[in-house]
Amino acid sequence: MGDSPVSVAEPLVKVVGLTKRYGDALVVDDVSFEVAAGGSLAIVGESGSGKTTIAKMIVGLVAPTAGTIHACGHDRSHHATSTKVRRRRGGEIQIVFQDPYSSLDPRQSGFDAIDEVLRLHRGGSKVDRARRVDELGSMVGLDPRQLHALPRGLSGGQRQRVAIARVLAAEPQLLILDESVAALDVSIQAQVLNLLADIRDQTHISYLLISHDLAVVRQITEDIIVLYRGRVVERGATAAVLDDPHHEYTRLLRASVPHAGWRPTRRAAPPVP
């Protein structure tokens, strides 16, 4: 895949000292982490913690103020300077956003959206591409009628499947899931979470999951970093951090999740890291 294969020992993504400042506001403050090839890392935090800004910097939508991003054997700390580099990057990392209602072109069917990505990234004859679209469609559980429907004819869960099939068409090594299941109904969310687990089994893709939902995080990631006001306050294996959180903020997050016998409590002032 690509011109510079990643060796097994080297992490797929290595982020060091990543910082983003807007004027006086320090949004992301000296964040470092790695995603192993075939691994799955969660970035957890609440509104304003900087988690989406980190995702945007890795994709290349936002330029870092400081720090380095190394992914899939290439440096990504700066904006792409040519179409060739931009297209190569698109084949390495893709992102699925939260809102399946605004992330698709309303006048383009799922089939055409997926075919467009294949044409740009994979090439091949029209017949070959059509076969591949059908393969991707069945992988994410869309039938031919749904594939040829416009987004307005699909439910939220079906649209998110189109969005996932479309990014998979580029055969990325890393998929960033930015709250990608947060807006889905519980019964649909379970289907999409199962789908994401299946895709990782079949393709050895890596995930970077941006989420505020600790139960979702536990279901599909092995490692976790917890962000609070732009800083990493805790990191480790997902199960270990959720079962035995050490930082005061992680404990507060964990205790705020409703469960059997849960009594909501008014908290004191938020802790400062």
Binding site: I188, A190, R218, D243, R254, R263
Partner: protein, 334 residues
């Protein structure tokens, strides 16, 4: 629950709502019945299109124009649908509503103070200065200390959590006896959600205020409501003591909802997903509305729409409920 000596504040009896479309009437609620006692919290849980918000809108008498309603909603013994003039105005003070997105329900160009005191000044002819001090006292109750400054601010200057607390405080100013809370914490961060739920819980107990709490989150409803009703395709499919819903579900849909949600205290290789997608009332098949997605479906389930009936300490709308009882609990905990 069937004890007739317990006073009833709100009773909804066989409520059916149809909305007019170009193609004809479309059913959104079908045979919805429940009661809420003074000071009691009832959870209403369901997915998109299940009719939970429409139920609250029917109770508050803010259904969309030309909606057709059958069945009777009684608040404090009076038929809500027949209220007119001063009686309707009084009703609007006694039943308050809060929504998922506070920013969509507050005028962005007026101050928080204008918004909070409007009902008192216009409906109750309270003087502005008095209304403002009442508002400041209420803000204090929901944990906002600098009320005087907040009243001068505009909505855009407040965070989502703060604004939702302003909405709660405002809804309480007319001292309602029933609060309709439609996903009031869904757009908030989890730590803020815990705080807002704590505030709602405290206020409800202090004021003996009843609450209809609408959410998609079964666990949240179970934690804060005495009883919970689960809705699917415009109908209530199960209703019972909240503490029993998770451990001993009576309806396959309730069990499916509980099992589909990933757990924070452990992961499984695969979640037990419900196949298909949630349906609205007008799309539901004849017979049991859940039959197309149910793994326990039998031919007789498709014969006729099941009636809701008592079982154990609750109500259920499933013809196989008795024989499935232990099995459904096993799905959730398997």
């Amino acid at each position: 629950m069937t004890d007739s000596t317990v006073a009833t504040l709100l009773s909804v009896d066989a409520l059916t709502v149809e909305l007019p479309l170009a193609t004809g009437l479309r059913t959104v609620l079908h045979d919805v019945s429940f009661t809420i006692a003074p000071g009691e919290a009832l959870g209403l849980v369901g997915e998109s299109g299940s009719g939970k918000s429409m139920t609250a809108r029917a109770v508050a008498r803010v259904l969309p124009p030309r909606a057709q309603q059958q069945g009777v909603i009684r608040f404090d013994g009076r038929d809500v649908h027949r209220l007119r003039g001063p009686a309707l105005r009084a009703f609007r003070g006694e039943v308050a509503m809060i929504f998922q997105d506070p920013r969509a329900h507050i005028n962005p160009v007026r101050t928080v103070g204008d918004f909070m005191t409007e009902a008192l000044r216009t409906n109750r002819s309270v003087k502005r200065s008095v209304a403002e001090s009442t508002a400041i006292a209420m803000l204090h109750e929901v944990g906002i200390e600098d009320g005087t400054r907040r009243l001068r601010q505009h909505p855009h200057e407040l965070s989502g959590g703060l604004l939702q607390r302003v909405m709660i405080a405002t809804s309480l100013l007319t001292e309602p006896r029933l609060l309709l809370a439609d996903e009031p914490t869904t757009a908030l961060d989890v730590t803020t959600q815990a705080e807002v739920m704590a505030i709602l819980d405290e206020l409800r107990r202090d004021r003996n205020m009843a609450m209809l709490f609408i959410t998609h989150d079964l666990e949240l409803a179970s934690a804060v409501c005495d009883r919970t009703a689960v809705m699917y395709a415009g109908q209530i499919v199960e209703q019972r003591q909240s503490s029993m819903l998770h451990d001993d579900p009576l309806h396959p849909y309730t069990a499916g909802l509980a099992a589909a949600r990933p757990r924070i205290d452990g992961s499984t290789a695969r979640l037990v997903a419900i196949p298909g997608r949630p349906l609205s009332a007008f799309e539901a098949p004849t017979g049991c509305a859940f039959s197309d997605r149910c793994s326990f479906v039998e031919p007789r389930c498709r014969d006729a729409r099941p009636r809701i009936r008592p079982l154990s300490d609750g109500l259920v709308r499933c013809v196989r409920a008795e024989e499935l009882r232990g099995e459904l609990g096993a799905i959730v905990h398997g």
